[in-house]
């Protein structure tokens, strides 16, 4: 399933004294089976875009095609559930959405809302709990009993258990320790690889973009100012640094080598790419 934005504009509270225009003429396509990253400063409208992906928000003008359905400002609020089922969103700090008595019930909550039977939902809960790295003994525990990192995993399992086709992640690793962050990113990568899940990731960490994404969108003040494969987008290190958007560490480091006189045809984005490049040129006098 593709998701297509056509000339999407969005304004919060239109017509009130507090009206605020947030998105300007957004055109983008999330292709089935791809891994997309969305980057941009605080307040640039990333979360607002995300909420259009499953019709939590409707464009003020323009339209969003989600699979077969087209969402416009006129779209009725009824019958949106099929969309919500296909597009799963993990919001920022998702642990704040836990509410059930037990971890198992909480994970099963989403599937049950989409018509899965109680029993099957609990099966799904078991499956996805282990996928996020927690064993079955957690099923019966209260979610409020867990550590922050464990709660995060449970909340993510709750979205995964809906078995969405598109998984949308709003800074899923914020506040975790580095190891937790790594494990989390590995889980998403695995889902992408094995289940061909389409992924949309909002992040401030350019290294994650370089490591995982196939395609990047750069958002600034509600406008898409750049898009492309990471290799292209990150070539323009100076532009990114001027905008204070950050660049992958390896690219920034390569830039330092360039200052010394080394030239790269294509800036490396990861430590491995840089190491390959260096080894290839070992002993070369520049």
């Amino acid at each position: 399933m593709d998701i297509d934005f056509e000339q999407v504009n969005f304004t919060y509270q239109p017509g009130s004294p507090f009206e605020q225009r947030v998105l300007y003429n957004i055109n983008m396509t999330v292709k089935e089976g791809t891994y997309n990253a969305l980057v941009g400063h605080t307040g640039s409208g990333k979360s607002t875009i995300l909420q259009h992906l499953n019709a939590l928000l409707k464009p003020t003008s323009g339209n969003v095609k989600i699979g077969e359905r087209t969402i416009t400002s006129e779209t009725n609020n009824k019958n949106l559930k099929p969309i919500r089922k296909k597009v799963g969103i993990v919001f920022q700090f998702p642990e704040s959405q836990l509410f059930e008595e037990t971890v198992g019930k909480d994970i099963a909550f989403g599937p049950k809302n989409f018509g899965v039977s109680e029993k099957d939902a609990l099966e799904l809960a078991k499956e996805y709990l282990s996928l996020v790295g927690l064993d079955e003994s957690y099923l019966e525990r209260s979610p409020f009993d867990l550590s922050g990192g464990q709660m995060r995993r449970v909340a993510i399992a709750g979205v995964l258990a809906m078995e969405p086709e598109v998984l949308v992640l709003d800074e899923p690793t914020a506040g975790l320790d580095p190891q937790g962050r790594r494990e989390m990113m590995a889980i998403f990568e695995q889902l992408h690889q094995t289940k061909q899940m389409t992924i949309v990731l909002v992040t401030h960490l350019m290294d994650d973009v370089a490591n995982y994404a196939d395609y990047v969108y750069v958002l600034e003040k509600g406008q898409l100012v750049k898009e492309g494969v990471p290799e292209e987008v990150f070539q323009d290190v100076q532009w990114l640094q001027e905008k204070q958007l950050g660049v992958p560490t390896a690219a920034a480091f390569a830039k330092r080598l360039e200052k010394k006189g080394m030239t790269f045809k294509k800036l490396p984005l990861t430590a491995n790419e840089l190491a390959d490049e260096l080894v290839a040129r070992r002993g070369e006098s520049l």
Binding site: S147, G175, P178, F253, A271, G283
Partner: protein, 279 residues
């Protein structure tokens, strides 16, 4: 070097926590003017350690002294005057209804007269570059700005020590950068001792000394160079690898011999230049 914080054999257990103590036999000395970073996994006891320093938690056994004072019921409020704390969640430590009210909150608690509060609030806000925000409400601030307000609240109290408990972990890179650079400035200006709990290598790299915690114990201690040179085992300790270390690792995997010592980015560039490329 004059010690300013002294913890001796601290053990602490949360109520109802049967399995293991949150802190086990922790001893620690921090010297005046030092910038100390504390790292470790989620749940390793870092916050608990921070809270025992100013008496927010009272240890089961062991003793705490700050400045020349032993922490006890009499001294606890004096010690809290000397130790400013900034916590993780920017929203949950903002007490005042506006920025200036929040900065003044600590001074109000100490009964400082209003005439003195006014210039101190002003100065503290200048220090964190939020002068124009004095009458703004917290709902109108970004996370980074809220944390700077929290720092201003600490600065206004003229403490000797500032403890940051993952003060930047909920911020975006910009907010994080703002907070760290402000922190560096005020540390110099007021000769503060800084204790910062963090998962962020850039932040830890600013420290003179890094402490590593695991399961309630202090397991390692050293300068950033010493700690960072440990390579991949660092990840297990709850910190990311600095880029030069990651690159060294990648080169090593490709059969290149790399130096054992820790290299900063600068050092790495030089080494690559002289040893790999222009040999």
């Amino acid at each position: 070097m004059e010690p300013i914080i002294n913890l001796k054999n601290i053990t602490f257990r949360y109520q109802g926590e049967q399995t293991r103590a949150a802190l086990q036999d922790v001893s620690l000395t921090v010297n005046k003017g030092e910038w100390m970073a504390i790292i470790g996994h989620n749940g390793s006891g870092k916050s608990t350690l921070a809270k025992t320093i100013n008496g927010l938690l009272l240890p089961e056994t062991g003793s705490v002294s700050v400045g020349q004072l032993d922490l006890n019921e009499e001294n606890v409020w004096t010690i809290r005057k000397m130790v400013g704390m900034v916590f993780q969640n920017p929203d949950n430590q903002f007490v005042g209804a506006t920025v200036e009210d929040d900065v003044a909150f600590g001074m109000e608690n100490q009964g400082i007269p209003r005439e003195e509060m006014i210039p101190r609030v002003k100065e503290a806000l200048e220090q964190v570059k939020l002068t124009d925000f004095a009458s703004k409400e917290p709902a109108r601030l970004s996370g980074g700005q809220k944390q700077r307000v929290a720092i201003a609240g600490v600065v206004a109290l003229r403490p000797d020590i500032i403890i940051l408990d993952e003060a930047t972990s909920m911020l975006d890179p910009e907010g994080r950068q703002e907070v760290i650079s402000i922190l560096k400035e005020i540390k110099e200006k007021y000769q503060l001792t800084v204790l910062s709990i963090t998962h962020d290598i850039d932040e830890a790299a600013n420290a003179n000394r890094i402490l590593v915690m695991r399961e309630g114990r202090l397991v390692d201690e050293g300068t950033p160079a010493e700690i960072f040179s440990e390579g991949p085992s660092l990840v297990e300790k709850g910190l990311d690898l600095p880029f030069p270390e990651r690159l060294k690792q990648a080169l090593k995997d490709r059969g290149v011999t790399v130096p054992e010592t820790y290299l900063t980015e600068e050092g790495m560039v030089d080494w690559l230049w002289t040893s790999i490329l222009n040999k």
